[in-house]
Symmetry: C2
Subunit: 276 residues, 2 copies
């Protein structure tokens, strides 16, 4: 099996490392516009071979697109002449706008996937060989993919040890805003509210586990997240509003000394215990 | 050395477990108004002996107060006749109101401490024998404690492997609002914004590491945090306002399609890399 990966960073690199463990005979071809990332990926053994341009990947069995979501959209326009047997899988964090951008003649080649995993780090050196294992992957509008491509994608994600969830792209984008995009906005906001203080180092010197956990994803790549926020702007703004309303409620309970209501509000949040 | 611990939950229980490893000959006496917690603490080996009331702890060498912060204030009123050699150390998350509540005649007995550690769990069964190691502890207004008590507290926290930071109580309460209390409000708010949706389980089923980390402390005890939010209400409201302003800024960049500004705002948050 011949696998092409465009984007040799955390997501693409980790996928390659795990594919190597599963498909011993896979040949992995890689492409990244960042030349030093290309070099690193080859050195680390993420790819067997580097290619110079997209044309060299148009005949592979599986073509993984693991670049920022705006990049996926531009790249799709150049994939209109991909081989009939190729399965193109994008790993972007948004789905509706990407699916809209797939050229009609290759819609059956295409599978829209969002693996719910990652770290705040980026680049080939951040790649982990167990990033996908036991995690959820959302496949969107799979009925519009060809039978071969459906089967190929499902086999791949099952082999990676992932739990597959099927969802409509619009529903995915709404859910992803709640569970991933808004929490990232929140973490960036938390970091900024402290960094903008007179002596942030004195404050951050007191950081315990709570702050460390909540600010971890504030270290994520602005390049990647700018694209996501742009593509999912409507849902993101709605969820930021809802979160802001909850903060207002919390503050009003404190200001008005409504301690029983505050306690109830915290108890409601505790219900996460039962779900997660 | 004779040590008394009032409050045998996560903080008090973990302290006892670690003290056992350091001071092999310490006798640890415990008191908790929750009778089943008392029983558990004895079974787990957190305490050597349970006592029935505070009077039995007034002659110990070190008296640890590890109960919710309003409870610490009530209890201090009953400690006016503690032995001269006793060092009382409170582990509360707020400091100014607690220090104000210390009876004048035992001010020299008292050391105000805030160990910057914890988990979202509570009760004796949540106790960990390495909760304090390599963490920061803030000691406030230490100049008002007696020489013996200063020395006793410093020795204890050094023996636990903690990094001691000295601070004025008002400054502590402001810093703690930023680095701990507001992030907790934020996590409760995040959990509530999702739990209030029509089908929270479908959303939470997609949770990756980011959401897990950001919502972890939303599982914390409302009883403990209601007290903290009440005692530090002014600083907390200020920091919630600052955080809300950052969220508004983020949303305005998205709404007005100011992508360069959004990217800059994220890059600013990335500066955490260099500090934490």
């Amino acid at each position: 099996v011949k696998i092409g990966i465009v984007g040799l960073g955390l997501m693409g690199g980790s996928l390659a490392l795990q594919i190597r463990k599963i498909y011993k005979q896979a040949t992995i071809l890689g492409l990244d516009h960042n030349k030093s990332h290309q070099k690193q990926a080859l050195e680390i053994g993420i790819v067997d071979q580097l290619v110079d341009n997209l044309n060299e990947l148009k005949d592979v069995d599986i073509l993984i697109l693991s670049i920022p979501v705006d990049g996926i959209i531009s790249l799709l326009h150049d994939l209109g002449d991909v081989s009939q047997h190729t399965t193109i899988i994008d790993l972007g964090s948004t789905k509706a706008k990407i699916i809209d951008a797939v050229p009609k003649n290759i819609r059956s080649n295409f599978v829209a996937a969002h693996p719910m995993t990652g770290t705040e780090k980026s680049g080939p050196t951040a790649a982990l060989d167990d990033l996908y294992k036991d995690k959820v992957v959302v496949l969107c509008n799979l009925e519009d993919s060809g039978k071969l491509q459906q089967k190929t994608a499902i086999s791949l994600f099952e082999a990676l040890g992932m739990e597959i969830v099927y969802m409509d792209a619009a529903e995915h984008d709404k859910h992803a805003a709640y569970i991933s995009h808004m929490p990232h906005a929140l973490s960036f906001a938390l970091a900024n509210s402290i960094i903008s203080q007179e002596d942030p180092n004195a404050i951050i010197a007191l950081a315990g586990g709570g702050f460390r956990d909540m600010s971890r994803i504030a270290k994520s790549s602005p390049q990647m997240w700018e694209d996501v926020f742009r593509q999912n702007s409507e849902h993101l703004c709605e969820t930021i509003d809802l979160l802001s309303d909850e903060l207002k409620l919390c503050k009003s309970y404190i200001k008005e000394e409504k301690w029983d209501e505050l306690n109830q509000w915290m108890q409601n949040a505790n219900r996460l215990h039962d779900i997660l």
